[in-house]
Amino acid sequence: MSQREFQNPTELDERTRQAVYDLFLVLADTKHLLGLRYGEWLGAPAIEASIASVAMAQDEFGHARLFYGLLGDFHQAGVPEREEKPEEYRNFEGLDRAWESWLDFIAANVLVDGALSVQIEALRGSSYVPVRRMVAKIVQEERFHQQHARGWLLRVAREGAKPKAELEKALKRIWEPVLLWLGRPGSEHERALVSAGIQDTDGEGLRTRLIERLGPLLVEEAGLDLPLSNDAITGQWVLGTALSWEGFDDAFRRRSRTGPDPETFRQIESFLGHAYPVGS
């Protein structure tokens, strides 16, 4: 791709700068809260699962730290500091409150972590150099998360009809928000990110990658009933239902700006006022 590279936010035009800032903040807040949720499962059903959940939590905090570090440059470039209220927090909406069961953990491990990976992998050849330099390490660390997600998904799906049905319910609870999270087609944000070469495809492209990855696992291997099927002619995976974009906020990547629930907010509050502790 013959395009220019950007070393810092001042080199970006205003529209792109805002879109990149929004993307990094969404990633930082989402990884922060995913780490928090994973960490709550230190008492997971098996000791191996306990170890895995805190190891994954640690990775997510590490990645959040990297993205918060990138955001520091934007504040120096004049992007205002964020607010300190729950409704300003930009985490994925399915992480607002604690998960009720281990099945919610598995569902998020498969879908939320999976969507995060697809989004971050799209920054592999980014024109924004500071983020491009982080991608390989994050992807290296995420590989284990996908193995863990896959292992547990198949284990539960093969456990019997009832656990399988409950797992389907857990997946369906966050199914649409996860797909929306990858970005609204044709939005200002999408256009800015793609035209400046920040990421290599738009939200629609990211969704295609995610369902191409998930289809074989969820439908073929696990035999789960989800609105996803393989087109017999093209061989591609397609969504069975249209997505409802009503209320979707492109800067927050969620349908409502409610933010984390009070209990969660109390846990992260002290973090918010000085959210960018580590420079690059």
Partner: protein, 116 residues
């Protein structure tokens, strides 16, 4: 143990070789070998006039809990060489892998019963 900070007239001796040598004294807080043997030092550049040094360090994991300690240890050690400004850049690409550990490092780790 090296002598304490050199006088300003000694700033000419501030070189990249001096930095690499000094960093051999700084151990990874979680491993009994130096950052150099761990392969965590990705690059060093020195501006002797400004008595400034920039060290590129690759951590083994993004969630390395010892990030601040490593920063402090490196800074303090290089200040002892006479540097007034120590800048540390965290490098993630190429990602650190155990292939970066030196032969000497492997031997030392083996002595501690750690095989890599």
């Amino acid at each position: 143990m090296r002598a304490s900070s050199p006088s300003p007239s000694e700033s000419g001796r501030l070189s990249e070789a001096v930095v690499w040598e000094a960093l051999k004294d700084v151990n990874d807080p979680e491993m009994p070998i130096s950052l150099v043997d761990m392969g965590m030092v990705y690059g060093v550049s020195v501006d002797p006039e400004a008595r400034a040094v920039r060290v590129e360090l690759g951590l083994t994991a993004t969630a390395c809990p010892a990030m601040d300690f490593i920063r402090e240890d490196v800074t303090r050690r290089l200040q002892r060489e006479g540097f007034q400004r120590v800048e540390i850049e965290w490098v993630w690409d190429p990602p650190w892998t155990k292939d970066r550990i030196s032969e000497e490092g492997r031997l030392l780790l083996a002595c501690w019963g750690i095989s890599v």
